[in-house]
Amino acid sequence: MTATASRPDTGARTPLPLDVEAIRADFPILSRTVRDGKRLVYLDSGATSQKPRQVLDAERWFYENVNAAPHRGAHQLAEEATGAYEEARAKIGAFIGAPENEIVFTRNTTEAINLVAYAMSNAATAKEPEFRTYAVGQGDEIVVTEMEHHADLVPWQQLCERTGATLRWLGLTDDGRLDLSDLATVVNERTKLVAVTQQSNILGTINPLGEIIARAHEVGALVLVDGAQSVPHQPVDVTELGADFLVFSGHKMLGPTGVGVLWGRYEVLDKLPPFLTGGSMIEVVRMEGSTFMPPPQRFEAGVPMTAQVIGLAAAVDYLQALGMDKVEAHEKALTAYALDKLAEIPGVTVIGPPDTVARGGAISFTVEGVHPHDVGQVLDDHGIAVRVGHHCAWPVVRRYGVPATSRATFYVHTGYDDIDALADGIRAAQKFFGTV
């Protein structure tokens, strides 16, 4: 677990694939200062990303020129709003290689996962026989992993409590990876769904989804992939992925808050009953009962977060102009550099894979003798924003025997100077608390 393995390229600064200075100029917030005039070193994109001007402009454009409720009304604005909303859906779908009718807009990743979990318990009482296809009950099993974010754990615990199904999970190895040694027994004929993250928000681990999905499909289980930390940071194509659901949040990929995505294979979505009900999602409503639209409208009750969807499409444009392969390579170079820099500091332990093999840019660490909150406070005093605590993955910190960690996460505007600032800040924390 310690990042003490010696690497020949220690501290090497390979040229970064992205032009950090040019990108920073697109992010208005990066020009402000914090804590008495310090440059903002934002290393908390894993919690929420900052927004480039292009995304803010797109939202403003929508409100100033088009604003109307989509899929309602006979006026020109309603028509244009509907067009903009559906064009955005197609663009966001194309970003992950999916057709537009497989893209459902939700509030965020958390709501997307709850949508699937509630649809699966609603299935048991659905009056339409095809909506009962994915019902779960006693004797059925749902499988998660020990590294899931609470958003991909608690909804499944609750589904099991509502339906009498059993929750099982894949554990972790000491070096921060999934323990797949019992995959064949944990995922078995009783398994109805496997929920697994593509990139851990706390450990940075990139999981071997191919093996897990193959096993799940072998036993007829559905697979939901939590892409909250992968879709913003690496190319993801749902056809290559081979899962049944992929969920992610707009606000972690340069987009606005309040919009997330549930991608589902159409034939699966088509057999799921609704989660939230109301306007927009109905086909025919009578006092005695109602019928529902096909996907994706079946899962989008009420006036949607139209401006946020337009903003997310602008974020997708921004990321595509940079190139997701370059975004991934950029973060990989930063991660290698940061792991080296942290390894140089005595008393610092990285919780998660110690090198860049199958690893993303979320780096959690502890500093011997200084509680993560106090580390975060000293870093904040230097203008450096990191996350501290259990990162909504309490079982993970418990598994590794630490009360909490500090976590640095990177994005397109992160440069080597940010990581140097982090390393200096950690040293300052050690000095302040007298551990060195």
Binding site: R35, D36, H373, Q377, V378, D381, G389, W394, P403, F433
Partner: protein, 153 residues
């Protein structure tokens, strides 16, 4: 550097050399409080004789602010009556809501002794709950102890 305004020397002293730490017998109530956003934890026991707090014993893990706050609270409340201790807790709450206003700290100096050093914490909203966790645990534990003993012992 604003750090010193929060991490007063007196706080760091309590953190490094906590007063009254450890769980002891006898006790009438034990509570376990957590700070769910960060995972800070405290297990706190209270021993009352009549309505006087004869001992407060605790184990906890967490940041310097949360742990130092328990230690400073221990010094303040042992030997006081429960109503007096809860009154001191109210003063500490007032201090935490002061947003760094030095006049509030000045007024409370006599009542809060060492704990007045936490005044700087009130400028950092995210840390206030760290400082308050121990006081919340004390309030909870004393209510339970008094309901068990009916104020008698």
């Amino acid at each position: 550097m604003q750090l010193e305004s929060m991490y007063q020397e007196i706080i760091l002293d309590h953190y490094k050399n906590p007063h009254g730490r450890g769980l002891r017998e006898p006790f009438e109530a034990e509570v376990h409080h957590v700070n769910p956003t960060c995972g800070d934890e405290v297990t706190l026991r209270i021993h009352v004789e009549g309505d006087t707090i004869a001992d407060v014993s605790y184990e906890g893990m967490g940041c310097s602010i949360s742990q130092a706050s328990i230690s400073a609270m221990y010094d303040l409340v042992v030997g006081k009556t429960v109503p007096q201790a809860l009154g001191t807790g109210e003063h500490f709450m007032t201090l935490m809501q002061a947003k760094g206003d030095p006049s509030v700290a000045e007024k409370l100096e006599d009542e809060l002794e060492d704990a007045v050093a936490f005044a700087g914490v009130s400028k950092y909203p995210a840390r206030i709950k760290c400082a308050l966790m121990s006081w919340m645990a004390l309030k909870d534990a004393s209510a339970r102890a008094l309901s068990t003993t009916g104020g008698q012992s």
